[in-house]
């Protein structure tokens, strides 16, 4: 690294989702040396798993590809995947960051030809599809992964399958002896963009998520609607593959609930409105019922709400459903009180989508205890006494949609540049 030394101007970005990628590129394009760490095998984070954005319904792959092109042009931006931070020491202008890289078992020789995946029959749950499908034990993280390189699942290592995978590779790219590595980085500022986890729907006990495959979370719905998802983009009942005629969305499934996430996750109302559009685009006769406490389509997003609400086959039921039971035919049945009519309902559906909220990823795993602190919910804020050298960005700092995450990340890049000072 060019700027290593007691006083470093290198900017380290932790997290390769849309916020981390944006912050790294924005900082690097001004000429600073930037290192971008990503815990998983590819960049893009949760955004790469989305089908489309609200409100314009355009595809996230488009913006991600533009960002990956920018990364390819930047010689001063280094991307390290499979990497997580084990510790941060020091102060603004001189941090020592311990990085731990877990094994990928595939080196840079990989051409993404796919021979390794064909060679094995072993399958693992697809993390990209949130467990809705299986993937081969040697797999490409997703179809436009960056870096475009395969991964071998750790569970295959030590089995005969691993040897088959290795033998199939013509480029000597499979390294079964990969032990990962630990190293230290010296840098002047850190942007912490570790993002979020979907709230675990199993914790919503009365919704019985585990009792029916036809109860899915909103992030799973994104995969169901995506052309490279488990159903090739066709929204069907996961239990039997049949088309859906009646779909329910349950808002605030976990959010705004003192028993779960006390805060509003901000994206779920618009997400469910978007899911209603996904369903209605595919089925002329489908009915979508959105169960809500109140709909929060903030500022200009109101127009998207009005657009969806104009569809007579999308209904809004003012009610937080109390429970979901499974009827004799195996269909999920929503039970609760319609708070406008005071009627108690029991309504069966083909598919129920739980609009689960965003839990900060920082609530688990390592978080530096210098310069930043966690608020009561686990989101990160700069600490009052801190020197401003570690800057939270994106959803790590609070529930944000993609456009707000990008704004947050760009602001963090500027803060990081200010922290390390004018380019020397």
């Amino acid at each position: 690294m060019a700027n290593q030394g007691p006083k470093s101007q290198t900017i380290l970005v932790v997290g390769g989702g849309i916020a981390g990628v944006t912050a790294a590129i924005e900082a690097a394009e001004t000429g600073y040396d930037v290192i971008l760490l990503e815990r998983g095998p590819a960049l893009g984070g949760r955004v790469a798993q989305l089908n489309r954005y609200f409100p314009k319904l355009c595809h996230p792959t488009c913006g991600l590809e533009i960002n990956f092109q920018r990364i390819r042009k930047l010689k001063n931006l280094r991307v390290v995947t499979m990497a997580s931070v084990a510790g941060v020491k020091g102060e603004k202008g001189d941090y020592t960051v311990s990085v731990s890289v877990s094994p990928r078992y595939v080196n840079a020789n990989c051409t993404a030809c796919g021979a390794c995946a064909e060679a094995t029959d072993m399958e693992v749950d697809s993390p990209f599809n949130y467990g809705l499908s299986k993937t081969k034990a040697a797999y490409l993280p997703h179809e436009h992964a960056f870096p475009m390189r395969y991964v071998v699942a750790p569970s295959a290592i030590g089995t005969p399958e691993a040897d088959k995978i290795k033998a199939a590779c013509k480029y000597d790219a499979v390294d079964l002896e990969d032990k990962g590595e630990d190293f230290e980085v010296n840098c002047g500022a850190v942007i912490w963009a570790t993002g979020w986890e979907p709230y675990d729907p199993e914790k919503l006990e009365s919704y019985n998520y585990n009792l029916s495959a036809d109860i899915v979370s909103n992030v799973q719905m994104e995969r169901l609607a995506n052309h490279d998802g488990p159903t090739g983009g066709k929204i069907v009942r996961p239990s039997n593959g049949e088309p859906v005629k009646k779909v329910a969305m349950i808002q605030c499934a976990g959010s705004r609930d003192l028993n779960h996430l006390p805060y509003c996750s901000r994206i779920c109302c618009l997400g469910s409105l978007k899911h209603a559009v996904y369903v209605r685009e595919q089925y002329e006769d489908a009915q979508v019922d959105i169960y809500y406490i109140d709909l929060r389509a903030h500022d200009k997003l109101e127009a998207f709400y009005q657009r969806v609400a104009a569809d007579p086959q999308v209904n809004f039921v003012k009610s937080k459903p109390a429970s979901i039971r499974i009827d004799e035919e195996g269909r999920p049945v929503l039970c609760g009180e319609n708070t406008i009519t005071r009627e108690l309902y029991e309504a069966p559906y083909d598919l129920v989508v739980l609009a689960t909220g965003m839990k900060p990823a920082a609530s688990e795993g390592y978080v530096p205890d210098i310069a930043m602190e966690q608020d009561e919910y686990g989101f990160l804020v700069p600490s009052v006494e801190g020197d401003g050298g570690i800057i939270p960005a994106g959803v790590a700092s609070g529930p944000l949609d993609v456009s707000m995450s990008v704004q947050s990340a760009t602001a963090a890049a500027l803060k990081a540049i200010q922290a390390v000072g004018p380019k020397s």
Binding site: D257, I293, K318, A322, C335, N338
Partner: protein, 204 residues
């Protein structure tokens, strides 16, 4: 033509009622947290047997519908299962509020109008006197609370069930079963009433 204005509302609204509930009902201070989501009414196992359900009852409190709240069957039909309290996303102790509203309804003499309160009163009389529920005396007390003729009618209508219960030893003939120390029980209850009076005076 312009549509005529709606007729003047004749219902009385007591605008200080919500504040009174906040200050005087157990758990009432948390009622301002209610966001009318319906989780409580939807979770109630006997929700279909309630005229209002907790969510609407809370809205009626806010609206100042004092008489309607105290005359509601909802406060008497609660079985204290605590489903609503456990699931409430806003931490409102729904069960406590409903229970105390029932107690207040007794205190302010609303119970005569509420059918369900008769049974609760008979139950409490038996529990307090014997430390147990005596099926015969409690039922008799409940039936005759409707008046002599109505009491006889109800008793006769259920005679067959009563005989069946005696035969299967679900009901006995003879002196009512009592706990060993009814005096002790009454002392406990008196103390509880004293603590309650003291704490509610302090506005706790």
């Amino acid at each position: 033509m312009t549509v005529a204005l709606p007729e003047q509302a004749t219902r009385k609204y007591d605008l200080g009622f919500a504040r009174w509930v906040r200050d005087n009902v157990n758990g009432g201070a948390k009622m301002s947290m209610c966001m009318q989501c319906g989780m409580c009414s939807g979770s109630c196992p006997i929700g279909t047997e309630m005229d209002q359900g907790p969510r609407k009852l809370f809205m009626m409190i806010r609206a100042g519908m004092k008489d309607e709240v105290f005359n509601s069957s909802t406060i008497w039909n609660c079985t204290s299962c605590y489903n609503c309290t456990v699931r409430c996303p806003r931490g409102v102790p729904v069960t406590y509020i409903i229970q105390d509203l029932a107690a207040k309804a007794v205190e302010f003499g609303y119970v005569k109008k509420v059918e369900n309160a008769r049974f609760a009163k008979a139950f409490w009389w038996s529990a307090k006197t014997f430390g147990r529920t005596d099926e015969r005396l409690m039922t008799a007390k409940y039936y005759f609370s409707f008046g002599l003729v109505e009491g006889m009618k109800r008793g006769l209508a259920n005679l067959k069930i009563a005989i069946g219960m005696v035969r299967t030893k679900r009901m006995h003939i003879g002196m009512p079963h009592k706990i060993k120390d009814t005096k002790g029980l009454q002392a406990i209850l008196a103390k509880a009433a004293e603590i309650d009076a003291r704490e509610s005076k302090g506005g706790a």
